[in-house]
Symmetry: none
Subunit: 188 residues, 4 copies
DNA sequence: TATGAATGAGCGTTCATTCAT
DNA sequence: AATGAATGAACGCTCATTCAT
């Protein structure tokens, strides 16, 4: 994705944090994956935790931007809902899969200070969801309280990284439809 | 819950693993929480990982038993579904909240051997869900494939431990109803 | 050999000390070999080191007595030399093999105080050798200084536990003859 | 001998292993003797056991080379025998005294894998001895089977580190002569 | 005597971080 | 920027010994 030293570190770290967890990954592992010495990492990042924070921030920024773009092309509430589900599923099981898994899984490894920084960006992302859900609620497209529904959807989607395989019996598009049906048919 | 040394260790470990994660919790932390020396832990458990395994096994056994009891008193598919959702939500946000969070969150900290042992018990628990969902599918109570639906439900419920507060705007009973509606109304 | 608890402990300890060394053998290993709990060992011996000391003292006493008996039946210097070599070889490769290996191998694991106690008994044993060698020197049966020769012989014999196998190409009797020849033919 | 960090560690370890044994020597003892922190040891050696292995391998290599040089200047079987005894005695009571004592005394502390590595080098060294003894046997310089005689000599020489003192009543040269006489005069 | 839970000091080893080069 | 040796605190675990029962 990114050919700079910083980008290569982040990509390797994302992969390793996801595979072995944050604390079981050593800075030597990351450095070795990039092809440098562990001491050299500290010219690019002040600490191991800062690498983790950067992985998280980058992926949130990237997916927020992608979601904004998708929403810009969706012209009714139903289409917006589909766009949101599609984008979030894509982020969870697609290209940013590893960094997203890190975001969920390694959250507690981040100090409170750094959690707050990440949370500020996350909030912007969540507002996109809540705006669309509130609009859908007004039109009775959904009946469950937007705040609650957002959390139930987040659970379904984020959990899908533990089991969904695009080469399995259910396609990516079918999964989107299934979730959308669960969420909206309940409004009939 | 359990006044034996073993029980006290497991309860303290569950709490600490959940709060700080498995690797950030030291055996000295656990011992201190119980009021013994760290070396004494090893009279009860062969290793730190065995403590983690025991936390997981105990909570699966307990919740499998509770679910069986609830199912025994549910006499139609709809009631069974409600019983399952109630039990699992109870396990996630209620009394076994901490151990259940550990089960999900610390999974990768367990060696493959031990994962297999836990998985064997987990399979029994999942069979209970799949049996009920297959029965509900036959009656068109649900339309989504039981295997897929089980995973979507698991996502919603397990994620609820990150946000649900029984003292908040939504009660425990309302949450059960909401999930049940999402799952079954989609069948209309 | 000895059916008392003390005897069983000493026999098991000798075996384990020889096989794994003193520090790699735990009191739990010894207790398990005897069929008791590790705490119970301390009703018979004040410490692990005292067990080691007892193994050493017992084997020295036993072999000193055996040597005395053999010497009593040897009526000339040549026969006495043969008796000494035979007894010491027997102790090293025969019945007391394990305890003798412990005596040599685990010597440095003993505190200086305890070493002195064992050394006092060892001195009596060595006097038996030196008396016989001095007598042989007077008759020109040997030419090397008795004190030096005793050490060279001790080296040959004690080292034999690392390689001699009575079922191998050389018999026990042949080994005795070979050593005797090396020691006495040099006098011709 | 060697001024590199590696050399200083090996020298300190040899001294300590010899004085207190392998298991009673801690990595902190070794590090303190070298003047570094215990953790820093592990930049040079992967484990404590690897330090022991390196001590053994270094001393075998060194003494094999020395023996080869000495043999190259010995032009008849008698001279070769004297060269071998001189070199081995020198290694046992002279400059490499401590490492040689470690080689014998700490053997069982080495894992089987590492023992095999050391044994491979030791075999080369022993071949030097056996070649010379076989040649001496052909000329009736010795009568005892070379294989057996090698072991009796090894016993005498290795044991000498427990008692021989060059400042004592017997000189180094006299000890060599004494052993050579015992070994060769028996052939007359 | 025997038990077995508990102690507590110490073990080999790990690892994020520093810093002279 | 990059190196790599060094740090030093902390880790999981061991084990001889004690002692209430």
């Amino acid at each position: 994705m990114d050919d700079t030293p910083r980008g290569k570190v982040l990509s390797a770290a994302g992969h390793l944090f996801r595979e072995h967890g944050y604390e079981r990954t050593t800075v030597r592992d990351i450095a070795a994956a990039v092809g440098i010495q562990s001491g050299s990492l500290f010219h690019h990042f002040a600490s191991k935790e800062d690498i983790l924070k950067a992985v998280m921030i980058d992926v949130i920024r990237f997916n927020t931007a992608r979601m904004r773009n998708a929403l810009a092309e969706a012209h009714d509430p139903q289409a917006k809902l589909r766009a949101l589900i599609t984008c979030e599923l894509e982020s969870i099981v697609g290209d940013t899969r590893e960094a997203m898994a890190v975001l969920v899984h390694c959250w507690d490894s981040l100090s409170e200070d750094r959690q707050a920084e990440v949370l500020a960006l996350r909030k912007i992302y969540e507002e996109l969801w809540l705006d669309a859900l509130r609009e859908a609620a007004k039109l009775n497209l959904i009946t469950v309280d937007p705040f609650i529904l957002r959390r139930l959807i987040a659970g379904m989607i984020s959990w899908s990284n533990t089991w969904f395989d695009p080469r399995g019996s259910m396609s990516f598009a079918e999964l989107i439809d299934t979730i959308l049906q669960l969420v909206t048919r309940s409004a009939r």
